[in-house]
Symmetry: C2
Subunit: 314 residues, 2 copies
């Protein structure tokens, strides 16, 4: 935020205003918007330099001023400030305190830096729970780097531990049909990818507000249908491939049908969990991946072994 | 790009310039930068409205003009245009053709939209190879949605197929020690996550230019060391957990040591592959994940079974 702004009074003439700008320009970062305040320093209007230079010099500021200016508060979230500037194509937005007194402005170049920073945070969170500190990552020491990454890896290690425990509990069937083990990475991997796609578009849609036109239920239903289309496509291919690899049609069908179920499950959890985390005031970008992975891996392996037992009559 | 700009001549006085602005303001989106061209319409200088209002009315434009203005070409990549505006905190940048003739300007509000769009592209690519068309994803029909996602899923299905084939080829050892299968998701999953973290910071660093201070080799070495720290931490925990789960110390050691090797491998491929793809003029954000997954899964499973054979003397 920049506290230096050029203040005008409503009873100034345009000529007086231009004279004040001339004198104060060197001390002000932004001279293209001029702010009008009342005696209590409360923001009462905004006039742009564009309006001033196109007005007649003897006109009063009160005649050309925009009343009801758009402003933000000192405690408005920086993402929201960026959104206001972006929405209205402003070069700056005034910041007022709770008593409506003007305390400064946020300019569009600050907003670009904010967008850049928030984007890095989102990308880091989505791409592996790396915490962004706002520092240049490539100038941070290695132990700090490792510390920032290890928490998320440990959470996913626990997830994988659960999956491992489930596979371990299915050792009886694995002992009989050891080839079933060969398809576990394919099923959990594809499920994870389908879930990541759904959560990516939903989380990005939340951040750019593109999602507002649809309700939560509509988004989840839509993603579930996309998951079904993808599941049927991939399941068919996986069935063929599994049959070619090991020649057992029943195992191949178990792989293919599991993949359909897992894709639907993955797209539902991938689209629903971000809404849940947002509702719980947690960061969807950071929280979604571990929980989607857990849901997909655990339920996916159970579905797979369940179907295999059923189809192979074990 | 906006073609409407206000043009001035070097021999104008400030008063003449202000008069021209007054007359042309309604037809121009941006009146805060004024452009000076020569007789061949070539850009020769820029003057800001700030400079005009603080100058004396009888001064000549040639006295206050900035010669050697910064500009972009009509075929400059939009990301590069955004970078120029961001770097210099401009409100607009002039666009010239190859003969240096002024054809228009790109304003800062366009740049915010460009940054938003490019970010969506990067996030979609990183988060599962979803192609961004610039349309609102939530208004696109379901089959288009599925088509945009299926290519990447098929690439990863092939990856997983390779991993499956390798597991299948190890059936002899799996038959003897079926419990080895329980740790495959943990190893490939953790490797994938370590690799995703490295590629995320490297790709983001490329896009924000933060990485420029370091060379490729330095970045990869740095990430390999981070991978080693993470691998040792996670490997120790995984060894303990694997021992608790199934009581076989040799299997537990095979799991733990594999995890160290896989973490180092994952951080090397996660940091090196984006540089390789950039060098090959391919999009690192889109290409990295499938190849990192392949490298980590295939090499990881081979390392794991190799170590298990060695430690268990099979």
């Amino acid at each position: 935020m920049t506290p230096q702004v050029i203040l005008l009074k409503e009873n100034f003439t345009v000529a007086q205003a231009l004279e004040r700008i001339r004198r104060q320009a060197n001390a002000s970062e932004m001279i293209y918007y001029l702010y009008v305040t009342d005696d209590a320093r409360r923001l009462s209007g905004i006039v742009s330099l564009r309006q001033l230079v196109t007005a007649q010099t003897e006109q009063k500021i009160s005649e050309i001023i925009s009343h009801d200016p758009i402003y933000v508060y000192t405690d408005t979230d920086q993402e929201e400030v960026a959104r206001v500037i972006q929405k209205y194509d402003f070069l700056a937005v005034p910041v007022v305190d709770r008593e409506q007194r003007l305390v400064g402005i946020v300019t569009v170049d600050d907003v670009i830096d904010i967008i850049q920073e928030e984007t890095t945070e989102d990308i880091y969170a989505l791409g592996g729970g790396v915490q962004s500190s706002g520092d240049n990552y490539f100038q941070t020491d290695l132990f700090t780097v490792a510390r920032k990454r290890v928490v998320w890896l440990l959470v996913l290690l626990i997830t994988n531990t659960v999956t491992g425990t489930i596979i371990k509990s299915q050792e009886d069937i694995l002992q009989k049909v050891v080839t079933l083990a060969a398809f576990i990475p394919l099923l959990t991997g594809t499920g994870g990818n389908v879930g990541a796609q759904s959560s990516t578009v939903v989380i990005r849609g939340m951040n750019t507000d593109e999602i507002r036109s649809l309700g939560t239920v509509q988004v989840v239903v839509r993603e579930a249908m996309a998951g079904a289309i993808l599941g049927i496509t991939l399941g068919t291919i996986a069935t063929l491939w599994a049959f070619l690899l090991q020649g057992n049609l029943q195992v191949a069908i178990a792989v293919g049908t599991s993949l359909v179920a897992i894709s639907i499950l993955a797209s539902i959890s991938g689209s629903a969990l971000p809404f849940l985390f947002r509702f719980m005031k947690l960061d969807p970008a950071l929280m979604s991946a571990p929980f989607i992975t857990t849901a997909v891996d655990v339920a996916g392996v159970l579905i797979y072994f369940g179907l295999a037992r059923f189809i192979l009559k074990l």
